[in-house]
Symmetry: C2
Subunit: 442 residues, 2 copies
């Protein structure tokens, strides 16, 4: 439709059509257009809309636009954006674009941008924007509404208003809903909620996420070290941060160093770099398991059949361990499990391990002894090892993430890959111990 | 503080103190109290507050309350809750509690509850609540505000208002912000946004999450098959659903069947049940790998040293594969990767695999040949296997999740455990092929 109007150069109709579309949808559409059309369509957008659409676009296209539209247009887009979106954009731009953009920005706004750019990545400060709706507690509802009507357009959200004193200390919050539902002569101080939830600029984004989940917020106040209110974080940015944290956890749990960029936009050298270090570490660790086999070479020479069960024992141990560790890692991330739960978890995983191990061993014994006609003593050794391996794997898998947390390491690294490597060695030690004891091979 | 006021039976002061606390914090506190104190404190809460606190409490405590407070109190709490919270609560209750609660509920409300209870789990219908703010397009802003003031208290949120026609078809949305900022004689129809984002009652919660992420919503309209508006979903429920989806993915990626309950609240039999099936399947699959070793028993007998490298090759192959599969699974979940990307991904993973494989093999060859003084031909066999294993593992790991998606299976099952088992067999086949070819053992 848009394509047709564009090809037939029916720009006025196209302009009307664009008015009825959502900004995210327009942004999506623009990403798939060729660059000339992109410029035409972008220029047909209304002033405010153009900035909104810009904020939803991907960084390469944003850069293309800024480098190819007139200075006045850049100025309009950049100065209509909320500050957090400007900062997100500038963080990805080369120095010359940053310079050009900052030159077009009024002084006060520029100094705010510079402040936001300085907050560490993944901090509350880096997520926040400064355009919030501030009220005074002495105002009546009528006065509050007057203020909201005069400056509300410039706030990222007015659904929650913040009551600050002369020194900018936060004294309370009041929802727009409560303002609208109140009588005109009621006073803000009596309506507002005291002791609002706040986060600090230096807090990690994980703490911000926790606050949103616990208090069902749609906007949170950010205060600095002096408890002065400096900004707000909106729920849509929190959802993005949440997905980022989850992606990071999944990457770490699979021995990939966290990557900032999307898979499709990451080059092969970068992809390789983020994988090889952990693979190397784990490869070297796995040679330890090889040593165990090396030590029992004679046993193997006398009963090569034992080698055939090594993959099954290693894999089952690794899987049993990573089941446990992944549940604990996730529980820690969601705050459902705490460090003090360690003894309970060890006891629980041991019992689960024994249950699961016995189940698997019984099934396997029947299969080996009756269907595969393996020497029952060998089957016995394999299946006893299974019980001990699974139990040990679950106990270790349940324990290590909590120990990592205690040592202030990220529990997510104690996942499948590392657990597998550790459990491998232990299962082979158990295996050969049982083999030498019961089969009297040496 | 609360404990002290309670012990000293200073109930009036306690009541005042509670007024200054957040509902989630009170709920948290109540969960840690003994049951008698719980009843006392709960009764000190104001009417509306009691329902709000109730909605934040855990299910066991909710049940205890409903079974131990007077009928009139139950009635008050249940009828002050938003319907989605009532439904969430009833879904967890035994039949006698459900019966008791429904008996205390007015007819119309009861029929709404019954409707909501019927939506399939994880559908948009099961997430929604029915108390939304409906306006008519012919209203002026003044009239709209009058309606909002008279019934707004009963809506779960009035930050977004929904404009419906006589048949309840959704015609547009209008934010409270825009209403407040408009002039009193403007008409809703001119202010409202047409073609609002909607989800269908039968949509999966994943689609709801996608809509929130794409359009930065704080409230979405839910329509039935006839496009009539039946409810709304709030962003806090979407965040919970998002975390649930992520937990489920992580569980599946680690061969745990998804569990509804928190780890600490799950008994050992249930924990064992959710793990043993996959472990069993993978154990049986791993015997295939054992077969490969069995087939090459003679080779191993002639060169037992080869056995010592099996764990390292298996682990590295498994890890390399699960790195790739986890990135693809996550990319699919976030919508960054689509089915049509398969050829590109295969090509990319092959190249990454060769890069990473060559890197690891070179390091390993130097270590084996010079530090461990292993026969260079053996080291050669091990390291060539490494290159091929890593490349194959990455290609398979990148491919299988997309194939799963094409077959309408959950890509998350194509993660570390299954990939490891598949890659194990392949790496051993490559290993023994190289060994027999280059070492001339048989």
């Amino acid at each position: 439709m848009v394509k047709r109007l564009l090809d037939e150069r029916r720009f006025l109709e196209l302009k009307d059509h664009l008015k009825e579309m959502n900004s995210p949808d327009i942004a999506n559409m623009l990403e798939e257009m060729d660059k000339e059309d992109l410029l035409i369509v972008f220029r047909l957008l209304e002033k405010d809309r153009a900035a909104d659409v810009f904020s939803y676009m991907e960084v390469e296209r944003q850069q293309y636009l800024v480098e190819n539209i007139r200075e006045g247009e850049v100025e309009n887009v950049i100065n209509s954006l909320f500050l957090d979106d400007v900062v997100d954009f500038l963080e990805e731009m080369p120095a010359n674009v940053v310079k050009r953009v900052l030159k077009l920005t009024p002084t006060e706004r520029r100094s705010n941008i510079n402040k936001l750019l300085k907050y560490p990545e993944d901090s509350a400060g880096s997520l926040m924007t400064v355009e919030f709706m501030a009220l005074k507690k002495s105002m009546t509802v009528r006065e509050a509404l007057d203020v909201i009507r005069s400056v509300g357009r410039e706030s990222v959200s007015i659904n929650t208003c913040f009551i600050t004193d002369r020194t900018k200390k936060l004294e309370g919050v009041l929802s727009l809903k409560d303002i609208v539902l109140a009588k005109e002569d009621e006073v803000v101080e009596e309506l507002m909620e005291r002791f609002p939830v706040t986060v600090k600029t230096v807090d990690d984004q994980e703490d911000v996420i926790k606050a949103f989940k616990k208090y069902d917020l749609d906007l949170v106040a950010v205060v600095d070290v002096e408890e002065k209110m400096v900004g707000v974080i909106t729920v849509d940015d929190v959802i993005d941060a949440l997905e980022e944290e989850n992606t990071e956890d999944i990457q770490k749990m699979n021995a990939v160093e966290p990557m900032e960029t999307e898979y499709k936009k990451t080059g092969i050298f970068s992809l390789a770099k983020h994988r090889i270090v952990w693979l190397f570490v784990l490869m070297i660790s796995a040679t330890l398991t090889g040593r165990v086999i090396g030590r029992y070479e004679e046993v193997l020479e006398n009963a090569v059949i034992l080698a055939a069960f090594i993959p099954m024992l290693m894999d089952t141990g690794g899987n049993a361990g990573s089941q446990a560790s992944s549940l604990i890692i996730r529980g820690l991330a969601l705050g459902e499990i705490e460090k003090k739960d360690l003894p309970g978890i060890i006891f629980k995983e041991m019992r689960v391990g024994v249950l699961v191990g016995l189940g698997l061993a019984t099934a396997n014994f029947l299969r080996l002894a009756f269907f595969e006609k393996i020497d029952p003593m060998v089957a016995m050794v394999v299946c006893s090892t299974l019980v001990f391996t699974v139990t040990t794997a679950k106990t270790i898998g349940g324990t290590l993430p909590i120990i990592a947390k205690t040592l202030k390491l990220d529990p997510a690294i104690m996942a499948a890959p590392l657990i597998t490597t550790i459990v491998d060695t232990i299962s082979l030690l158990i295996y050969f111990y049982f083999a030498t004891t019961f089969l009297k091979l040496v």
